[in-house]
Symmetry: C2
Subunit: 458 residues, 2 copies
């Protein structure tokens, strides 16, 4: 069902291309390794749920510079000292690197790389912006959606937020990420077509208002869509419920979209049950989020399913993750030269890493260790695996329902307090990684203070 | 420079299509008028800046259902009772309506429609989701950007947020909206190509780290990009500034991306000036927003330009606007039948409206009146004008620099306290509009309580 979207190669920051040009002109063609991670979780999040890998790999496999991309770049004064060989390089550009990643649907925490790219440094640099945008956005939405789904305690959540998403395309991606995290479906038709996600939706207030007479609107709609859900809050919610009953309609559900959802759901349930409409479900929407849903259910709301829009499709309480993509090593003259950054507040650890997850006997997650790739922690689960070599996928991407199922199993193993509580999951750096950081820091400090070294002396 | 993007007709909520099918099957083909507005401003915003109209009109002019769109819809069980004539209708679908709108770059406030669509109700319904998403997202970003630009007091703001935007396409739209609101440009190359926005960017930490020896990295980059800005915070900011000076480099600027920007900018300025590099500008970035910029400048930071990313490209402190698109009338049997909604918290006013803006003698905005379209307020400026008839633009869309210039002039006329202060701009409903609401409320209440009326009796 999945469909590859064509993405312009210019969906990147200009500096990725100026750096690529400088690497090219200076013949720095070495393989570089970059790791993508979120430095620290927003205060409102106890975990993240990795998502977006499929679109990231599609992008890497299909990235091409078209002639008009190159013509545009050549016009830019920034590139006036750049040789035409660089533009020839872009014309023949293919991503040829290796990618390691956590599967979509894996819980991930701060400082844990969930994607790692090893490729000629120009290639690895050019793809930075797109990878960050695609992976951190879907991960952010999946993380929010997992919380909403949890709060609903098994009741269905439908993602409804396209109209409030950050543009039409963000709505489609949000629907995908929300589905991975356990939503039952989306209102977004394009997401249904593109990704095979179940689509939901029946009618809005405008349909009721078009008829003025609410009963007539209900009748006309119900006749065509007998499985449809009737929206009851356009004028007076309980009067609308009575109208449905009095007119002998048997909708599969009614939707409450405003007012006191607790009280209205109870009253509506009572009236429906008394009229024998026990099979008619009550669906609620209207500025919901995980906290509102939790509280409604705790107070005994008679709601069977929820439509969640803005809060979900924008991750409204934490609408950006501090995703970064950091150089950790270069392959020079057949050996690995480590790289790290020591600016205040923004330290990065050198070298390729693996994330090891420790489980208790029941399978519950106990804590993670971010370690050098070559380390081993018997019994712990290494989370990153190779998904692309020489620019081609090396394992099939699971279909979306399988990813959803995997995510569900994973989410069951996260400490309860990481959901709506404030529990902080335990993530450590291995001793060997910390030692390596010290060594690299000492060496870079020494070299930076000394005489100009040759390229890549490290 | 502008380029039409192809947008799938399925970028909509399913209920728009089920409602369209129900209108079709019930032969409700009347013209309907919908108005798009934000109910109330977020607490963090004193005004909005309308943006996104060009993309909205492109969408309306070019909206088509492709064969595979229709094939997908026909498969859905929701449509099982829908006749093939409806799908034939979709196959020949064109948007044929009329659109009134505020020009991009116009300040807009809560309850003020900034787009109004009059079209056969099916057409007007189907386009709802896309219009809301496109217009409210760009408006939200432009509104944030206007605040950031204001805080910089004439210094340049570059939009840097693509990597944190809600997917790759959101980054491009955010760059456009930010430019309208007065940003000098963007790092997003696709936004440069697609919309002609100036693009900026030089190098990241990875370039410095690739060379280990910072001086060598600076030299190599500077040689190729003599107008480039050197990034100085990879290891030790002031040591890097000293290295630039000692090695006789004359970059057009340096960029600070972490640490105490106030203190570092002062020290760096002092060292650069003492070395005669008085022309070298200081550029700052790293989790900036309008408040940080205001405070830095108030405390005497020596910063000439700012790169603003996450806060701007996600409107982080107010990442969603409550945009709605409401039915206000239907044309039935040659007369206008008003529509309104009375559910709790979500009242809407009936009938087509105009927004009238009052100015003082200096041109400053004093307050607005949302009124019936046919009213007149001599001396006040009507903000909505006709931009599309019969599905075709009726006025040329101004180019982006002209929109930016118009926005700048408009923003100068907003009360100062509406920017970073908490001043609330005065918006009233006209007496005639309030009277109309009462009449329509009484009539709809009466009819809803009465016997089933015929379609559209109003």
């Amino acid at each position: 069902m999945s469909e590859i979207e064509h993405h312009s190669a210019l969906l990147t920051d200009l500096y990725e291309l100026t750096m690529a040009a400088a690497y090219f002109e200076n013949k720095l063609l070495a393989n570089a390794t970059f790791e993508l991670f979120v430095r620290s979780l927003p205060a409102e999040r106890g975990f993240l749920l990795a998502a977006g890998l499929e679109q990231a790999l599609d992008y890497l496999e299909n990235l091409r510079f078209e002639d008009d991309d190159i013509a545009y770049l050549r016009q830019q004064t920034a590139f006036q000292n750049i040789s035409s060989e660089f533009f020839d390089y872009l014309r023949n550009f293919r991503f040829t690197g290796e990618v390691w990643a956590m599967p979509e649907g894996t819980p991930v925490f701060g400082e844990e790389p969930f994607l790692r790219v090893t490729a000629p440094i120009m290639e690895a640099q050019i793809v930075e912006t797109f990878l960050l945008s695609m992976l951190t956005f879907q991960t952010m939405i999946a993380s929010k959606a997992a919380r909403v789904v949890k709060a609903a305690q098994g009741r269905r959540i439908i993602e409804f937020g396209s109209r409030r998403a950050h543009g039409p395309d963000a709505g489609v991606l949000a629907a995908r990420a929300a589905y991975i995290a356990g939503c039952a479906g989306t209102s977004n038709v394009e997401a249904g077509r593109r990704y095979g996600i179940p689509i939901f939706g029946t009618l809005a207030h405008s349909f009721i208002m078009a008829y003025v007479d609410e009963t007539e609107a209900f009748r006309k709609f119900h006749q065509l869509f007998p499985r449809g859900v009737l929206l009851v809050d356009t004028y007076d919610t309980l009067a609308a419920v009575d109208r449905i009953i009095k007119n002998g309609l048997h909708p599969s559900g009614i939707r409450l979209d405003s007012g006191d959802l607790l009280e209205l759901s109870r009253q509506a349930r009572k009236r429906l049950d008394e009229a024998g409409l026990t099979e008619t479900k009550i669906f609620a929407s209207g500025d919901l989020d995980e906290y509102v849903i939790r509280d409604l259910l705790a107070r005994g709301a008679q709601i069977d399913a929820f439509g969640v829009g803005t809060a979900l499709a924008t991750s409204k309480d934490a609408p950006a993750l501090g995703g970064v993509y950091k150089l950790v090593d270069l392959e020079l003259d057949g050996h690995i030269s480590y790289r790290a950054k020591f600016s205040e507040e923004k330290l990065t650890y050198p070298g390729r890493k693996q994330v090891f997850r420790s489980h208790d006997s029941s399978g519950a997650f106990r804590g993670d260790t971010v370690a050098c790739e070559t380390e081993g922690f018997p019994g712990d689960e290494p989370l990153l695996s190779c998904v692309m070599q020489n620019g081609k996928r090396v394992c099939p991407i699971p279909d979306l329902p399988s990813i959803q199922q995997y995510a569900r199993q994973q989410l069951e193993r996260i400490p309860e307090g990481c959901f709506l509580g404030r529990e902080r999951y335990n993530v450590n750096f291995s001793q060997r990684l910390q030692d390596l950081l010290m060594v690299v820091r000492g060496r870079i400090k020494h070299q930076s203070e000394g005489k100009p070294g040759s390229q890549g002396v490290a």
